[in-house]
């Protein structure tokens, strides 16, 4: 999460606690019945849809405006995209409104959300639930896949409708590093770091990529992701964390700037990598780094790779606040983004994004599936084949784990204080 990452996570508990007490008995806006979809469309006609989403990538913003905007307009819905420096801002806005007693006609209709923000809003009961699986296009989604059904370990329960998928990948520069030398596991990565002093670093938690990088390392040190699928185990965490932070301390002098300072976020790491200060960076795009190379933020000779021991893949979703003013229009958008042709367009880096599919390829009509296969074939080596990604995909960790990691990293690595 970029600076002011979860700036307003602060208010979550405080506001929610006071809001629930203050707000009149939760008559939060009720959702229209998705089984009669034509009525939903009718109700959504003429609405202005407030979509709040992270605005850091101009390409993604342009994709949403130029692809979804016209399609919604055809349905009589005016899309108003509100860019956020950090999704937590929107979370706070909703919670703030609830706390101030505004339980309906809220300023936000739909939020691009996942991970901690999802956990926060669910904890505050600030999201409509049970609607996502009943959308017409929901049939295209494999709701049995744990990566879809669970968001950072928390069951989705229809509160979020998937928009796309992502998977953590490393990026290296073929001009500077030989493919053969690439590590296949975190253990080998540690050796690579010792052999290439000052040429590796990672964004400081709680930045998203930093936390995920360390979560995957913790998986490897605690016998794999399976250990955490059925919830957070304090003792298992303590054992694994001890080994992880000991290793990080040992590796510290070999890191960039002797591990005295760390980049704030993935953008800083990309800049260090592109300018040759470090030899690796990360990405989350299943379609690879085609868009980045095209935009000139990564060198042409950059290539993605994954570790055999696996990297975390997850989905990102659209959530509807309980006090959304236009829930119908929000559901129309959630359904629209799942259209196969729009999912394909989102996957194509030429459109500026290159985000992974939210729908299950197996459930598609032949011509849609053929289009996707043709597209992925064209990525060349700027993207990893879907099979390679699927083979090493690991589920996301429960929020308690990532929170514990963030807190320990701050105390141990940042402040150099022993773990309590």
């Amino acid at each position: 999460m970029p600076p002011l990452t979860r700036a307003l996570l602060l208010l979550s508990a405080a506001l929610v606690v006071t809001a629930c007490a203050a707000a009149d008995a939760g008559d939060a806006g009720t959702l229209p019945d998705t089984s009669r979809w034509d009525e939903v469309l009718a109700e959504a006609e003429g609405a202005t849809l407030d979509l709040h989403m992270w605005g850091g990538s101009t390409e993604i913003n342009r994709f949403v405006d130029e692809v979804y905007g016209p399609r919604l307009a055809e349905l009589g819905i005016t899309l108003r995209r509100v860019p956020l420096a950090d999704t937590a801002d929107a979370v706070n806005a909703v919670l703030g409104e609830l706390e101030a007693g505004r339980s309906s006609d809220g300023s936000i209709d739909v939020i691009w959300i996942n991970g901690e923000n999802h956990a926060t809003m669910r904890q505050a009961e600030a999201l409509h639930t049970g609607w996502a699986e009943s959308l017409p296009n929901a049939a295209l989604v494999d709701w049995r896949d744990p990566a879809v059904a669970f968001d950072a370990g928390i069951p989705v329960e229809g509160a979020e409708s998937p928009w796309g998928s992502a998977q953590f990948q490393f990026v290296y520069d073929t001009a500077r590093t030989d493919a053969a030398e690439l590590p296949a596991s975190y253990a080998q990565l540690a050796d690579w770091i010792r052999d290439n002093p000052g040429r590796f670093t990672y964004p400081a938690p709680p930045a998203f990529h930093g936390t995920r990088f360390l979560t995957q390392w913790l998986y490897e040190l605690s016998g794999g992701a399976e250990a955490w699928v059925d919830g957070f185990d304090e003792d298992a965490y303590e054992a694994a964390a001890a080994r992880l932070f000991a290793l990080l301390e040992e590796l510290r002098p070999h890191l960039w700037r002797d591990g005295a300072t760390y980049p704030n976020d993935i953008a800083d790491l990309d800049r260090l990598f592109a300018n040759g200060e470090v030899d690796m960076t990360f990405t989350q795009l299943p379609a690879g780094i085609g868009a980045n190379v095209e935009a000139g933020t990564l060198p042409d000779s950059a290539r993605p790779f994954v570790l055999d021991t696996g990297t975390i893949g997850d989905h990102h979703y659209l959530g509807i606040p309980v006090n959304a003013a236009e829930p119908a229009a929000a559901m129309v958008l959630a359904d629209l983004v799942l259209d196969p042709d729009l999912q394909t367009a989102k996957l194509d880096p030429a459109n500026g994004w290159g985000d992974g599919l939210a729908i299950d390829v197996g459930r598609l009509a032949d011509h849609d599936r053929a289009a996707i296969d043709a597209l992925t074939a064209g990525f060349g080596d700027l993207a990893l084949p879907p099979e390679r990604l699927a083979a090493v995909r690991l589920p996301d960790a429960p929020p308690e784990l990532t929170d514990a990691l963030d807190r320990d990293w701050e105390r141990v690595v940042r402040q150099q204080r022993p773990r309590s």
Binding site: P3, A7, T261, N264, E410, R417
Partner: protein, 299 residues
Amino acid sequence: MSARWHAHEGVRTWVALSPALLLVGVLFGGAVVMALLRSIGLLGIGEGGPSLAAYRQLVTDPGFARSLGLTLYVAVVSTSLSVVLGIGAALLLRRLGAGRRFATTMFQLNLPVPHVIGAVAILALVGQSGLLSRLGAQTGLLDEPAAFPAITFDPWAIAVILQYLWKEVPFIGIVALAILAAGGDDLEEAARTLGASAWQRLRHVTLPLLLPGVLSAAVIVFAFTFGTFEVPLLLGPSAPTVLPVLAHRRYTDVDLAARPEAMAISVVITVVVVLVVLLGAAGARRAIRGDAAVTEAGG
């Protein structure tokens, strides 16, 4: 003058002042009170009554002490360098004959440019893969980015200080120029005829003349460099970091107990700044109001 008129006069004075005081008082006062209350655990999530746990926590936390030290160091160094270089620049510009007005306009060109932009620009200039490092590479002096001195994200926060100088030297310079323009030349001439050498004129006329005005401008610079957030976030070190960044980091910490601590840090920042203000208060007001002491000399 009847007493009533005086009363009337007094009332009119306070009526004229009320909008400004009301606005600043309600909004700013409310904010500070809120921060104070939350720093002792009220209004926030903690159910317990007011407790100074957050402040005790700060005192025991070595990280806080290091951050406080770093913030003071950055603010003091930036302020004093700004004052010295600012006065130097003013004395330099004043001795310019032709083109003085153009040079002075260019000199304060970056004053209206927000600090955020300055930070982005300084990073692009002095980062290890910045323009200067690249010039080094092209000329063969440096062979890799790491060869360029690490002054961004560095423990001594050099890039942060550079950015502050980039903005505050012109500010102090302009304040100095303003003071000297209101009679500085005449007094120096008088001193010359009284036998004061160039150095003596600087020490006994120019600097004493500048002191009150520049001191108050320096207070403003100190308050800003001590309390700003964007520049150290973009350019500064991450551990220890300056108090404002630490306050924000604690503020967005997952662990809810960190929030009163964040508030406490904000309160500490406020207290330090207000203390410095009280120190230079008289001068600060005069500098802002523009009727520096020297105007009496002209009378």
